[in-house]
Symmetry: C2
Subunit: 413 residues, 2 copies
Amino acid sequence: MSGFFSSRWVEVPGHVSEAPDAGLPPGFRAGGVACGIKPSGALDLGLLVCDSEACTSAARFTRSGVLAAPVLVTKEHARLNALRAVVVNSGNANAATGQQGIDEAARMQGAAALAGRVGEDQVAVASTGVIGVQLPGDDIIKGLHRCREQLRADGDAEFATAIMTTDKGTKRASLSVELPGGTVRLTGQAKGAGMMQPNFATMLCFVQTDAVLSAETADLLLGVCVKRSFDRISVDGQLSTNDTVILMCSGESGVAVAPESDAERAFGEALDALLRQLAIMIVADGEGSKRIGRVIVYGGAEGPVRTTAYAVANSPLVKTALHGGDPNWGRIAQAIGGALLDADPLALDIAIEGVQVCVAGTAVDFDRSDLEARMAREEVEFVIGLAGSGWETEVLFADLGHEYVTINAEYTT
Amino acid sequence: MSGFFSSRWVEVPGHVSEAPDAGLPPGFRAGGVACGIKPSGALDLGLLVCDSEACTSAARFTRSGVLAAPVLVTKEHARLNALRAVVVNSGNANAATGQQGIDEAARMQGAAALAGRVGEDQVAVASTGVIGVQLPGDDIIKGLHRCREQLRADGDAEFATAIMTTDKGTKRASLSVELPGGTVRLTGQAKGAGMMQPNFATMLCFVQTDAVLSAETADLLLGVCVKRSFDRISVDGQLSTNDTVILMCSGESGVAVAPESDAERAFGEALDALLRQLAIMIVADGEGSKRIGRVIVYGGAEGPVRTTAYAVANSPLVKTALHGGDPNWGRIAQAIGGALLDADPLALDIAIEGVQVCVAGTAVDFDRSDLEARMAREEVEFVIGLAGSGWETEVLFADLGHEYVTINAEYTT
């Protein structure tokens, strides 16, 4: 499949196909306006509404110790299993803004409820942008009033644009999914991440379907798929104060996704493919990334396997080597050794794009020019073996190049 | 004091003065040769010998889970409290080289013992350079033969040059220290760090004195001072496979540094100033660093205080902001929140170069142009307050600029 599913690291099931111009699933409308937060005049306020009263939902949020006001308001004052609207602004994160920030996020929630004709406690609020600056609340209220007029079944393009900060393009998909009981639609819009510009941050992702899911099933599937997608990516090891993922199910198709059914498995596979591809797009767009890496780690214990994967993915030396297409695997050994203190000797196996370079902690001969050619690919896979077996994890990560420095150091605020 | 002690973050006691051209303390000789590891023909093999049979010593090593062969050989086959020689090569780390690497490190130890006329178990071996390539042992043996002819009391300059990889210059000092019982000499040579070139790594530091210290006192003082210097720096969060610090005491001055004496305190202060300044020089030279940062964290619990300090020091967003002189403190809040998961709300105080920007987790007004001027200094201090009191730590760190990327990505191997 061409188009949206561009990564070889996403398995696209046979029952999933793209429906690029089909807009949102039945039951959903969305839109976006420019309310004046972005000095450029670009779209910076999005609203997405589900017209079905039976809408179920599930949500996941950042675990940062510094939670942004919209995250706090959504977690504490919204029914996360029955959300019917999401309101999102870009250009201002409404984080580290104290009680005034909380009040503004609550006001934004109330105005979105009016605009979408849903209950206040059915609105999720999300923000992305500069930390430590108060939100221009009046502009947002006025903007929502205008946005209400523009809600359309094919408004996902405007919505996806309004949540962007410095993403190179929108990240969205519109899929058809054949389930045993009939065909359903599955759409998603994401933005970020990786602090792509000094003041802009955050990963946001919103997913809609017209399949019939209980809130429990939605929560279960979202949890599993987030763990395999957004929980497995790293642009620069930096967790945002605002990350939010929301799945909403209008049920308009009448096609049921019952617990532990074939339909649940099939829907889960589609959701998994969607979120993994969106996550990979975020990594690829992260920070002027030239190529992206995937580190897969095997071993006998969960802790070291996980630690190793993140140590490799977040090592600036591994990331710059990936950027330069340099098969300098000594840096991988160094990064792992630095993360697993006092663990010498590590019986470390390392392979890059299928070429074994280190066995049981010792260098082995390999064809260097062949490996250099493989390292020049757009997607480069690193497979690490620790002692033992039974545990496995992966992390998808961006390289580290000049554009990251330029964006984050030179364009000062 | 000008010259060596250039950082405002080092307290130079009144009883310490520079003795720039005085060479090594009595009892020590050193030298360096080019043995052919570096293609450039630069010095790449150093030998330092203590002629006093009463020499005491102390050592500290990397805790990496991937230990280089010289570290293993030195830890397992040398009397760390009675070392009389160190042999160091640059250009090859002899790491991830298996049994052959161990054999070569042991051969290097034996050849250095012959050259220095000391016992094999009194020789420390250190290497720095590319990981995963076998050491050219024959070249080293021949080099040591030549090096033996060149050992001189003022050979510390050659020795300091021979241990360099891509350091911009040597990092060394020759100090006079007035103790209650008389004046002693204290010299040190360091290299690194921060993987300044794709294949070169490692922090090495060798310190000599003619004061009389028991091995226990040497170990105690070295341990305390390393914790306050090399344990508190981070160029890129990457721990080397080869880090080694060795203190040797010839006792030739006859001036005793007895346990719990005024002399011990005075000697400790001098050693502390020496190691802190060398550590700061390593950070400043790290990777084309333009300015260096110091983060000081206060709080009520050891874990969060330490985690916060390293999260700020190793955040690529904080490091690029430091490089750009951008007082974007939201990134500091983000880095801390990302490190202290599920800890919201954090009563976070943040000050930059004396300017308070965040109180109890909420933005406060400040004079932006004033703060920008302060951020343009060569040394920038960040003070973070967490809830509670009783714990404090600091980390000194390098910024992240284009040269890091250029050095680590573009000059591929």
